[in-house]
C-alpha cells in the first residue's frame, strides 16, 4: 500500500499501479462491497447475524448483570415480585457479609490459600515435568502422556470417594493442605500437559545452542527456555487458579469449619428457613468477578490453555 504513494519509476510502473489498484479495492471493501466471501451476504443475513449476536449477548450477560444489580438491593427490592431495575443502591449486603459471627473473611482466606497454593505448586511441578515430557525421547512416552491426561479427565466423584477415605486416615479432612492436595489431583496433570504443549512450541535448537555455549541442561532450561514460555506459565497458573477457586465438589466433602471456601459459604446461605438473596448475590459477585478478570487477562492464550494445547490461538 505504501508503494502507491511514492512516485514510481517508469519501468516497474504497471506492476505498482496494479498493486495500488488492488490495494484500493481492498480498502474500499468495507463500504458496501464484499470484503471476504463470508461478507458477500445480503442485507437480510447481516441483520440476522446482528440479531443473533444481540440475543447471545443478552442471554449471556443478563444473569450476570442481574446478580451484580441485586447485590446492591435492599431486602425488599431483592425479592420484589416485579423485578426492580431502578432502585436506591445500598452496600448493606456487602457490609453484612463482613459483620457478625458468620464473617466472610476467613472463607476468602481459605479460598485464596487453597486455590493459590495448589495453582503455584501445579505450575512449578508442571513446568519441570512438562519440560521433561516435551523433550524426552523415552519409549512409552505416549502411554505416559495418556496416563497424565486421563487423571485430569477422571470424574471428580470417582476421585473424591477414595480420597475421602485416605484423607480421613491421614487426618487431612478439614485442612488447607488437604484441599491443596485435592486440587492438585486435577491441576497437576493439567499443568504438566499444558506446559509440555507450551515447551513443545519452543524449538529444541535453542537449548542445543545454549549447551554449545557452555550452559548446563538446567541452565539452558532455566535461563533460555523458561523465559520464553512466560505467557505459558502465567496462563497455566491462572487457569489452575480458576479451576481450584471455583471448586465445589471437593470442598463440600473435604472442608470443615477451618477450611471452608467461598463457594461453600455461598451454598450455606441456602437454608430451610429461607435465603438472603441480597447476601447471596453479593458473595456470588465476590467469587465470580476476580476470576473473570484473571481469565480475561490471559485471553490470548485461553484457547491453547483450555484445549490443553490441542488448538492454538487466534
Amino acid at each position: 500500500m505504501s508503494t502507491s504513494t511514492t512516485p514510481p519509476s517508469p519501468t516497474p510502473r504497471p506492476a505498482v499501479a496494479d498493486e495500488a489498484a488492488h490495494g484500493r479495492a481492498i480498502a474500499a471493501a468495507p463500504r458496501g462491497e464484499p470484503q471476504s466471501p463470508l461478507e458477500s451476504s445480503s442485507r437480510r443475513t447481516r441483520w440476522l447475524v446482528t440479531l443473533l449476536i444481540v440475543l447471545a449477548m443478552l442471554w449471556t450477560l443478563v444473569p450476570l448483570a442481574w446478580m451484580l444489580l441485586s447485590s446492591f438491593k435492599n431486602r425488599v427490592d431483592v425479592t420484589a415480585s416485579t423485578p426492580q431495575v431502578f432502585f436506591t443502591p445500598t452496600l448493606d449486603n456487602y457490609r453484612n457479609l463482613f459483620r457478625g459471627p458468620n464473617n466472610l473473611a476467613p472463607y476468602i482466606l481459605h479460598s485464596v490459600l487453597a486455590a493459590g497454593i495448589s495453582a503455584l505448586l501445579a505450575v512449578f511441578l508442571g513446568a519441570l515435568a512438562g519440560y521433561g515430557l516435551a523433550r524426552t525421547q523415552m519409549r512409552g512416552k505416549r502411554h505416559l502422556a495418556f496416563w497424565i491426561i486421563s487423571t485430569r479427565m477422571a470424574p471428580i466423584a470417582a476421585i473424591v470417594v477414595p480420597l475421602f477415605l485416605i484423607f480421613r486416615g491421614l487426618g487431612l479432612i478439614d485442612s488447607i493442605p488437604g484441599l491443596v492436595l485435592a486440587y492438585l489431583t486435577f491441576n497437576l496433570p493439567f499443568a504438566i500437559w499444558l506446559m509440555s504443549a507450551f515447551f513443545a512450541e519452543v524449538p529444541s535448537s535453542l537449548e542445543e545452542s545454549a549447551l554449545v555455549s557452555g550452559c548446563s541442561r538446567w541452565q539452558a532450561f532455566y535461563l533460555v527456555i523458561l523465559p520464553l514460555t512466560k505467557s505459558g506459565l502465567v496462563t497455566t497458573f491462572i487457569l489452575c487458579l480458576v479451576f481450584a477457586w471455583n471448586d465445589y465438589a471437593f470442598a463440600v466433602v473435604f472442608s470443615g469449619p477451618n477450611s471452608q471456601t467461598l463457594p461453600i459459604a455461598a451454598s450455606q446461605l441456602v437454608t430451610q428457613t429461607g435465603i438472603d438473596w441480597g447476601q447471596l448475590t453479593a458473595i456470588g459477585t465476590i467469587v465470580v468477578v476476580p476470576m473473570m478478570l484473571a481469565g480475561l487477562a490471559v485471553r490470548r492464550w485461553l484457547v491453547t490453555g483450555l484445549t490443553l494445547g490441542a488448538v492454538t490461538g487466534e
Binding site: T79, L128, R135, T151, P155, P162, R168, V303
Partner: protein, 311 residues
C-alpha cells in the same frame, strides 16, 4: 570410551560416543525433571485408584477408624440390579447429549456470527466468555434466584408469557433448567475454540472460494467445516470430559430432585457416599464412571496423535 574419543576426535568412535553422551544424560535430565511431578501425581491417582477398587469389593466402616471388610461382589451385584441406578445412567446420557449437543450447536453458531463481525469482535468475545469463569455452584445458585417462582427474573418473564409453573419444582422444567444453566456456562468455550479454528483458515482459501463462485452456505459446507473439523472434535472432547466431571449446578439447585428427575450418576454417587455413607457401593459407581471417562480420554489422545500433537 573417553580415551578413544580424545585420541581420534574424528574417528568412528566419536559417532558412537556422541550418541551415548547425548542419549544417556538426556534421558537422565528429563527423567529428573519429570520425577517430582510424576511421583506426586502417581501418589494422587494410583493410590486412590487402588483404594477405589478395594473399596468397591468391601463394606467400608468409618466409625472407630477406617476399616474395609471384604464383601465380595455385593456392591457390584447391587450395581447391576439397581433399577434406580439404570435410570440414573439413562438420565446421565440424556443430560450429557442435551448439554453437549446444545453447547456444540449454539457455540458453533455464535462463532460463525462473531466471525462475520469485523469491528469490536474482541470485546464481544470477551463479554461472551464471562460465564465460563463463574464457579458452577454460583451459577446454580444464581439460576435458583432467577427461576424462583415469586421473585425470579426469568420466572417473571415466563409468567408474562403465560407460564406459571414452579420451574425447579416440576420434573421436566427442572431438568430443562439445569441443562440450560450448564449450556449458559459452557457454550462460550465451544464458541471460543471454534472461532480460533475459523480464524486459522487462510483468507486466501476463502477468497479463492468466492472467486470460484461459492456462496456463503457453500463456503461454509465445503471450505470452513472441513477445515475446522479437527478443532470441532477437540472442542467436543474437551467439553465431553468436563460435562461428566461437574455436577455442582445440579447439586446446589435441585439436588437430584424433584422426584429424581435430575439425579444423574455423579449426584447419586455423592448421595450414596456422603449422605448414606455407603462408600463401598459409591466406589463401584465411581469405578464405572471412571471407565466411561477413560474411553473419552483415549479418543482424545488418539485424535491428538493423528494430528501429531503428542509427539
Amino acid at each position: 570410551m573417553a580415551h578413544a574419543a580424545q585420541s581420534s576426535p574424528v574417528a568412528r568412535g566419536s559417532a558412537e560416543q556422541r550418541i551415548t553422551a547425548r542419549k544417556e544424560p538426556r534421558i537422565g535430565f528429563e527423567g529428573k525433571m519429570m520425577s517430582p511431578g510424576l511421583v506426586l501425581l502417581a501418589a494422587l491417582s494410583i493410590v486412590p485408584f487402588l483404594a477405589l477398587i478395594a473399596m468397591s469389593f468391601s463394606r467400608v466402616r468409618l466409625l472407630g477408624g477406617v476399616r474395609l471388610d471384604v464383601a465380595g461382589l455385593t456392591n457390584w451385584a447391587r450395581f447391576f440390579t439397581d433399577a434406580d441406578m439404570w435410570m440414573s445412567w439413562l438420565r446421565t446420557v440424556v443430560y450429557f447429549v442435551l448439554t453437549v449437543g446444545l453447547e456444540m450447536v449454539l457455540g458453533v453458531g455464535i462463532a460463525l456470527c462473531l466471525f462475520r463481525v469485523l469491528r469490536g469482535r474482541n470485546i464481544l468475545l470477551s463479554l461472551l466468555l464471562l460465564p465460563m469463569f463463574a464457579a458452577p455452584s454460583i451459577v446454580g445458585l444464581l439460576g435458583r434466584y432467577l427461576t424462583d417462582s415469586t421473585f425470579g427474573l426469568y420466572a417473571w418473564v415466563l409468567r408474562s408469557l403465560g407460564y406459571t409453573g414452579d420451574i425447579l419444582g416440576s420434573p421436566v422444567s427442572a431438568f430443562a433448567a439445569v441443562v440450560l444453566m450448564d449450556v449458559w456456562e459452557w457454550t462460550p468455550l465451544i464458541a471460543l475454540i471454534t472461532l480460533a479454528g475459523l480464524s486459522s483458515v487462510p483468507q486466501s482459501v476463502r477468497e479463492a472460494a468466492a472467486v470460484d463462485g461459492a456462496g456463503g452456505w457453500m463456503t461454509l459446507r465445503y471450505i470452513l467445516f472441513p477445515a475446522i473439523s479437527n478443532v470441532l472434535l477437540v472442542a467436543l472432547l474437551i467439553r465431553s470430559m468436563d460435562a461428566i466431571r461437574y455436577f455442582d449446578i445440579i447439586w446446589v439447585t435441585t439436588n437430584g430432585g424433584p422426584a429424581d428427575a435430575t439425579k444423574i450418576v455423579p449426584v447419586r454417587l455423592y448421595e450414596t457416599a456422603f449422605r448414606f455413607f455407603d462408600l463401598g457401593y459409591a466406589a463401584a459407581i465411581g469405578l464405572a464412571m471412571l471407565v466411561f471417562s477413560i474411553l473419552i480420554a483415549r479418543t482424545f489422545v488418539r485424535l491428538l496423535d493423528v494430528r501429531g500433537l503428542t509427539r
